[in-house]
Structures are given as structure tokens and as C-alpha cells.
Subunit: 224 residues, 2 copies
Amino acid sequence: MNAMTQTPATVSAFAWVPDFAKGHVRDLRVRWALEEASLPYGTAKLSPGENAGAYRDQQPFGQVPAYRDGEVEMFESGAIVLHIAERSEALMPRDAAGRARVLTWMFCALNTMEIPIGSLADIDIFNAGAAWTKERRPAVEAWARKRLAELALRLGDNDYLDGDRFTAGDLLMTDVLRNAPAALLAEQPKLAAYVERCMARPAFQKALAAQMADFTGSPPPGWN
Amino acid sequence: MNAMTQTPATVSAFAWVPDFAKGHVRDLRVRWALEEASLPYGTAKLSPGENAGAYRDQQPFGQVPAYRDGEVEMFESGAIVLHIAERSEALMPRDAAGRARVLTWMFCALNTMEIPIGSLADIDIFNAGAAWTKERRPAVEAWARKRLAELALRLGDNDYLDGDRFTAGDLLMTDVLRNAPAALLAEQPKLAAYVERCMARPAFQKALAAQMADFTGSPPPGWN
């Protein structure tokens, strides 16, 4: 416990995104972590276009979330979730071996799993109908399917990746896996049940509702 | 300092990879971090095919590196580099604000930067000549170019991402950027100079030489 623990955090979030992105913007991960850790926060909402200019001092790529608590200023959802996990035992054990396992699952979620799953979303959502995807999609789907099968094998009959307790690794993994095509995830019933189990947590539901409630802005001029 | 600091680490590495991958396998990041931190390590070399079977207990996806020191067992190069950084001030400042900035750059390297740069490598190296890449490549190159320009703007005239000291964030960022096409990186001269500056470090050179020296194995049967 130090003074910083008392400072409410501020998380940046978009005031408007297209419908398909609602509930999937990366500040969700940070809100979820803060809810699990019972830490208060407020949001700094950005209208369309406000992620340029001065905001780049906080986030050089114009993405959300950027984060601040006390003297800590950072960005990258994975890094912020880790910072929050270090403020609360709710998300990470304190012993060296347990901590190393959580770090492993956090990076695994955002690298080994999210890269194939994100590539598939890139095809299905952002490039739907583009000619190149017809030739490319089978290989990307096979890649994602392989990774899901390997992860399911490791999860086995455990409730969570580290056994019987939820950690920051499960938090990031869930947010990655819930963006996989439903039919693909369903091929691994234990993994599908794991994602449902994590998404049923009150902290996730609260974070999701809070992100949705913050979409009070208008689309940019010319959006249709 | 604790007992664990005294246990030499073990890092898994492939005894053989195709020529284009030599010097680019992910255990390089871990070797580099260990060299920067002046921590001793040994390698557990895997011949082709040995990344199946029992090795999956250490690394469920059959990738390298897997890592062990004392009671700590982990995988994912980013997670391992972070674990090492926590064992040595050579790679991460100890104050909360500085630490948060390093976490930010580590995740930024492996997510915001590596995803576009890796997608470009996926096209140019693993799918060279495939029909779909002709339509797809310009958009991926534009994505990587945009991210490189944004990163260069943030780096400015600093020697390193966090100002005047090298951190684990620079280590991962360098290993990502050195895999960008040379002509693309050269469009941002300050970023290209930054990558050269980091690669000139004795610890990087030592790590690279050690990875190269460990390729003593034979290709799998049928490789041509």
C-alpha cells in the first residue's frame, strides 16, 4: 500500500466506434482488471478525431486505452493490465513461480493466440469479401485451429490456465478467445466453457456494461 | 538478491532451423536479456521433432524458448525477458513510473509494432509468390509504415525509447524492428539509427553469436 493506491485511475476510451467494435475496444481489458482488483477509475472520453493532436503525447499511435494513476502514465492494454495486477493479489499470485506463470499466460494470450485469431478477424471483419481472402483464409483458420487445440490440451479439465484460480492471464486470454469465430471455438468444448466461465464473472459484466454506456458520442462527419 | 539469482537459467533452443531463420529465433531475446543482466545460462537444445512429446509439458505449442531458473518455469519470450528484467536493474528502472514505461514499450513492441511487421514478413518470407499477396501486400506495408512513422515521431532525438537509458523495451523493440524490410525501416532514419545503436551493444552481439553457434544439428529427414 502506498499513496498511489489511493489515486483513482483514468482510462481513455472512445466515445463512438462502429457497432461491430462496441464491447470489443481494448479499454475493456483495463476496466475488467480494475473491477477484479476493486480499484476505482474514471474515463477520459475521446470523440472521433480527438485521438490525434495532443492525445499523441499520451498514446503515440492514437489508440485507446491510455492510462494514468498518480505518477504512472502508460499505454498498451496488456501492460496496463499487468500494472494493475501488480497492485492487487486478485489478479496475480505473489510468489515468484506463480507470478512467472501469469506473465507467461499474459504474453501467450497477446502473441501466440491473438496473432492467429486477430488475423482471422482481420479477414472476416475488416476485409470481408476481398478477393485475396479466399485463397488466404484456409491457412489462417488452420493456424488458429491448431493453436486453440494446443491451448485446450494444456487447459485440460482445469477451470483456469493456472489451475483453480483466475488470474490476469485468464483475463487477457478470454478477451482474445471471445473474438475467435464461434464455430471454431466450439470445436474445443473445454475452451469454449472456459471462456463462458470467465465472461460470467461479475467484474467482466460490469466492465462490458461500462464500456457500452460510454458510447455516447456521434460518428464522424460522413460516416454511413 | 535471493537464492534464485544464483541458479543458472536454462533456455531451450532449436539445434537446427532453415537458414533464413538463423539469428532470428526467439531465444535470441532471452539470451540478449541474460547477457545485459550478466546472468549465466545454459541451453537445452532440441533437434527437429523434439519439440513434440514431453517438451509440450514445458511449452504447450512446441515453440522456443522455454525457460527455467530455480523454481521458475515459463515460456513466451516477452514474459521471460520481463522476468529477467525484474532480476536486474540493467533492464528496468525500479521506480513505479519508470517501470510502467518499460512495460508499455515491451507490449508495444510485441503488439502494436510486431503485428504489422510480422504480417509483412509472413507475406515476404513464408508466402513469397503466393497470388493473394499481390492484392494484400500494399495495405500491410502501409500499416507497418504508419506505425514506424508514429514510433519514430515519439523516439525523436532520444537514444532510447525511455530517453537516455537502454531498457527491456528497447531490447524487444530492436528485435522486432530488425525484421522489418530494410528499405521500409530506412524511411525513418532515426529509427534505423536506433536499431543499429541497440544491435551494436556487446550483449546483443554475444547473444547472436551464441544462437548461431548452437545450430549444430541436422535438418529433418526429407528437408531440401
